[in-house]
């Protein structure tokens, strides 16, 4: 199994949800995060003083998937969330040693 962590622009969350549902991925964890990479931040001005806002709002999507599905999931994420501009985000893939469904105690792929 693989654990895929994706940082995306907030506006891409809904399209991503729909696209992953189409692949049979019907569960994910989403959190509101802040971050920056090459996009850097922006300059704002408050009551006459300029200041840099280095952290931009992003959405982090996490899901556990069958290793066989991992490549198509990554490709789907990339297609859905790419706008060609700096700030689109990143996809991280980690090996997942196990997973368990709390309600039933099932482990492995049947827990996903």
């Amino acid at each position: 199994m693989k654990y895929i962590i994706t940082i995306i622009q907030p506006s891409r969350l809904e399209p991503l949800q729909d696209a992953l549902a189409g692949l049979g991925i019907d569960g994910m964890t989403v959190s509101e995060v802040q971050g920056y990479g090459r996009q850097k931040g922006k300059t704002e001005i408050y009551r006459g003083t300029e200041y840099s806002v280095n952290f931009l709002p992003k959405i982090k999507v996490e899901c556990a998937v069958d290793s066989k599905l991992a490549e198509s999931v990554i490709e789907t994420i990339r297609e859905t969330c790419s706008s060609g501009r700096i700030g689109d985000g990143k996809i991280f893939t980690m090996d997942l040693s196990d997973a368990m469904r709390i309600r039933t105690g099932e482990t492995g792929l049947s827990a996903l």
Partner: protein, 434 residues
């Protein structure tokens, strides 16, 4: 009902051609005068809510509970202190410099007897006057709370408010509205640009300096770190509520509503008050757009209030055009004073000092444009009241520093005063920023 009244008056005018209009009798005038104080007074009371919204909106969420507590606390303390000490210190047997030490109590027995109303047409209920004056002193106290927000101890601040409202404000008020030496010189301040707003502004200035800035606000290298407010829509609504309250503030200061002339005056006051505020907003919008490339909402809010403070010294006499000018200049002074205070390393969280002190001074001077007030006398009033408040408020701040401490610890300030002083978060369901 109205038609028959008109017919009756028309009929009366045919019979008694000497007087075309029936002036209200003394009791009717008493009723309207008192009503003016009461209605305008409770409209001003809502400014306490306006200040609260404005200040809470401009502080960070980790201090919202304390800021709210300060506001409801100071309004209540002002109301009690003004009854126990303040009103009579300001109005009773003023000897030129000070009134009398006595607890105030309602008493209309001189004009309302078993025979009915026996006073004249300038009379009003004693309690209605107390009520109207009380909400004014509460306004002065709340000016201070915004400037020194986010780093003053709650209890210390409330004690300061008690002294400001019970002693400092009433004494300088006795010099003017109480009939003392400044009013005898001809000092003119219709609704309190100096007497209320500058007084609050001076106390805010000394507080901001003596308490010091928020940790991290000013760097040793001269850098300034903005600490944006947590809820700008709330601050905007607060400004609207203050604007609304100002109609009571300026309108009620006509001190009478018992004649057509008085009501017409109040109407003109409402018009000038609104125009001055509106001009203040527009000037601030244009100025910040030109200066910073972006319109700053918080400056537009300050601009409205700066315009309102400026017109407060004379909201009746100016033409609408002059009112717009006075309000606009007040706002412009605010727009430039805000960054200037930052450069002087004076940390005023909400812009209370530019709005109430700087614009208050301007408004007091601007009285000379529409009345025959003497500029020299206006300046004497500004300087003498300024000196008095600076000295007394500084003494109180230093005394409180020694007795109670002015600031929470650095850790408490960083984690937010809500946690350390109230143990109560304002937004426990939301994720907090540092």
């Amino acid at each position: 009902m109205k038609k028959s009244l008109i017919l009756t008056l028309a009929g009366a005018s045919l019979i008694a051609p000497v007087q075309a209009f029936a002036a209200p009798d003394a009791e009717t005038a008493f009723i309207f005068n008192s009503l003016s104080f009461l209605v305008h007074g409770f409209i001003v009371m809502l400014m306490a809510a306006g200040f609260c919204m404005l200040e809470v909106g401009l502080v960070r969420s980790k201090n919202a509970t304390v800021q709210s507590t300060k506001n409801i606390g100071l309004y209540s303390i002002a109301g009690l202190m003004y009854w126990l000490v303040g009103y009579n210190l300001m109005y009773m047997d003023v000897s030129g410099y000070i009134g009398s030490l006595a607890i105030w109590a309602p008493d209309d027995s001189a004009v309302i007897t078993d025979a009915g109303y026996v006073g004249d047409s300038a009379g009003y209920s004693a309690s209605s006057d107390w009520f109207f004056q009380m909400v004014f002193v509460a306004a002065a106290a709340s000016i201070v709370s915004g400037a020194v927000a986010e780093r003053v101890k709650l209890t210390t601040f409330l004690v300061f408010s008690a002294i400001l409202t019970g002693i400092i404000y009433p004494i300088q008020g006795s010099w003017t509205w109480g009939g003392g030496w400044l009013s005898e010189m001809g000092f003119s301040d219709f609704a309190g640009s100096t007497i209320v707003h500058s007084v609050g502004g001076w106390a805010a200035l000394t507080g901001a300096i003596i308490i010091g800035a928020r940790k991290g606000k000013f760097g040793d290298d001269g850098s300034i770190r903005p600490m944006p407010g947590s809820n700008l829509p709330l601050a905007t609504i607060g400004t609207f509520v203050l604007w609304f309250g100002w109609f009571g503030f300026n309108g009620g200061s006509q001190l009478a509503m018992g004649s057509a002339a008085d009501v017409a005056a109040i109407a003109n006051i409402f018009v000038n008050t609104n125009i001055a505020a509106a001009a203040g907003v527009v000037v601030a919008i244009i100025a910040t757009a030109l200066l910073y490339g972006k319109i700053d909402l918080t400056m537009a809010l300050n601009g409205a209030l700066g315009g309102l403070v400026a017109i407060t010294a004379e909201p009746l006499a100016p033409t609408p055009l002059l009112a717009a000018f006075i309000g606009g200049v007040g706002s412009l002074l605010v727009v430039f004073s805000v960054p200037m205070l930052d450069r002087l390393k004076i940390d005023d969280v909400v812009g209370a000092i530019p709005v109430h002190l700087v614009s208050g001074i301007w408004g007091t001077i601007a009285v000379c444009f529409s009345t025959d007030a003497s500029l020299i006398v206006q300046l004497i009033g500004i300087v003498s009241i300024g000196a008095f408040v600076v000295i007394t408020s500084s003494l109180v701040w230093y005394a409180l520093k020694a007795l109670m401490g002015l600031r929470p610890s650095e850790d408490e300030e960083l984690s937010g005063l809500d946690a350390s002083e109230c143990g109560l978060e304002s937004y426990p369901d939301f994720i907090r920023q540092a």
